[in-house]
Amino acid sequence: MALPSRARSTRLLVVTLVSVSLLTITVDYREGDRGPLAGLGRSALALISPLQEVVSKVTHPVGNFFSTLVSLPSIRAENQRLRTRVAELEAQSATYVSQERRLNELESILNVQQSLGPKVKTLAAEVIANGISNFEWTITIGAGSSSGIAVDMPVVVGSSSGGAMLVGHVVRVAPDSSMVQLVIDPESSVAGRIEPSGDTGLVAGEGAQDMRMGLVDTTASVTAGTDTVVTAGYRIPGVAQGMYPPGILIGTVSRVVQNDAALEKFVTVSPAVDFSSLGIVLVVLSNGSG
């Protein structure tokens, strides 16, 4: 007796609830976003969102931990992808750096060309090889007799301040390449002048060590560290092979060795050019005499 009545009341309850639901659906549907139901929804939302915020603050780390566990495979894949991307970008950035260096070199070459004046003809050439021997300080450049290069032509690079720095001179020429003897080669000797005193001497290479400048007048006043040595621009027959344009920077005086017994003193000169990182050099075609 009780069961059917309970079943009936349950059915009535369900029918009522369903009707209310349907009514809500209909009203909400007809009203859109402006009716009282939507307003009620908005205020309910405003009521619950602070609560949500609080709970979220507490549980978010926990949730993060679990979601990390669940999405571990995809995170690994993403990690892999990002690593690849990083490698790509690093390679790209390395390319940019080397391109920038090349640009700097070319700019300084341009400056040198301008500083040497319009009369002096020059040719830019790329360094394609370094000397193979430990007793020979030479480089090979990618331009030769077909470009007008001849033996004894001076080779310079630009400095950051825009002036020219002496690299060496051409000693051997092939049609499309030539060998340049660096000023630090023991075979090389260049007439140099100490600035600002103006005393002259002969700068000879010493290999990996600083260059040695001899034949300096004992009365000359030389200060180590600040005085610079530039090319003197004249030839000493039979001693200095090249004839460099005057005023090209060779290096800085690093040490003054006074020998009271001798009639000369010598100074050591640290080269201005970093010979280990030569990229593009400038060959002075006019040989300085023109």
């Binding site: 309970r6 009341s9 349950t10 309850l13 369900v14 609830l17 369903v18 209310v20 639901s21 349907l22 009514l23 809500t24 659906i25 209909t26 009203v27 909400d28 549907y29 139901l37 009620l40 929804g41 908005r42 309910a44 939302l45 009521l47 619950i48 609560l51 949500q52 709970v55 979220s56 549980t59 978010h60 926990v62 949730g63 993060n64 679990f66 979601s67 669940v70």
Partner: protein
């Protein structure tokens, strides 16, 4: 009175959990449907009328508090609670895993039904395949959560019931 209070507490807690913790912990992109789970568990424990009431209140709360199209969840959950409660009376299996299966099946059918109603009302923008996928995943998720939440919900239901008996 106490029954209403405890049901309200359960519903609000479920809403908060649904929108905070379980918004982060997703199973293959799907969230659990806690309100479905609660409705089904109440229907299993208390019979069709309690199921319907729990479903209606939970559904309405979800619709209003989460700013969904109003009434659809309430309709779906009312019917779901009633149906599961009725079905429960014809099952005599003593298996402790019974609630898990009921929750899984009920959630799947319920979410599908929700999708159908929403579709008929022009509120559903997704395809059938996505709906099936979501129904399946939330059913699995709810089934996983059932062993954790079932004892809690049973304690709440029994607590409110015994007090009522004592007062009576």
């Amino acid at each position: 009175m106490r029954r209403t209070l405890s049901l309200s507490a359960v519903i609000v807690t479920a809403l908060l959990l649904q929108t905070t913790v379980f918004a982060d912990i997703r199973l293959l992109g799907a969230r659990p449907e806690l309100m479905y789970l609660i409705t089904i568990v109440f229907a299993v424990l208390e019979g069709p009328s309690s199921g319907a009431i729990a479903g209606f209140s939970g559904g309405m709360a979800q619709d209003f508090f989460l700013n969904q199209p109003k009434g659809i969840t309430a309709l779906v959950l009312t019917l779901l609670g009633y149906a599961v409660g009725m079905l429960r009376q014809y099952i005599v299996s003593p298996s402790p895993a019974l609630p898990v299966f009921l929750v899984a099946g009920g959630t799947f059918a319920g979410v599908l039904f929700y999708g159908l109603v929403a579709f008929l009302l022009g509120q559903l923008d997704t395809g059938l395949l996505y709906l099936l996928r979501v129904s399946f995943l939330s059913a699995v998720y709810n089934a996983i959560l059932t062993p954790l939440l079932y004892p809690v919900l049973r304690r709440v239901a029994e607590g409110s019931r015994t007090r009522k008996v004592i007062r009576w």
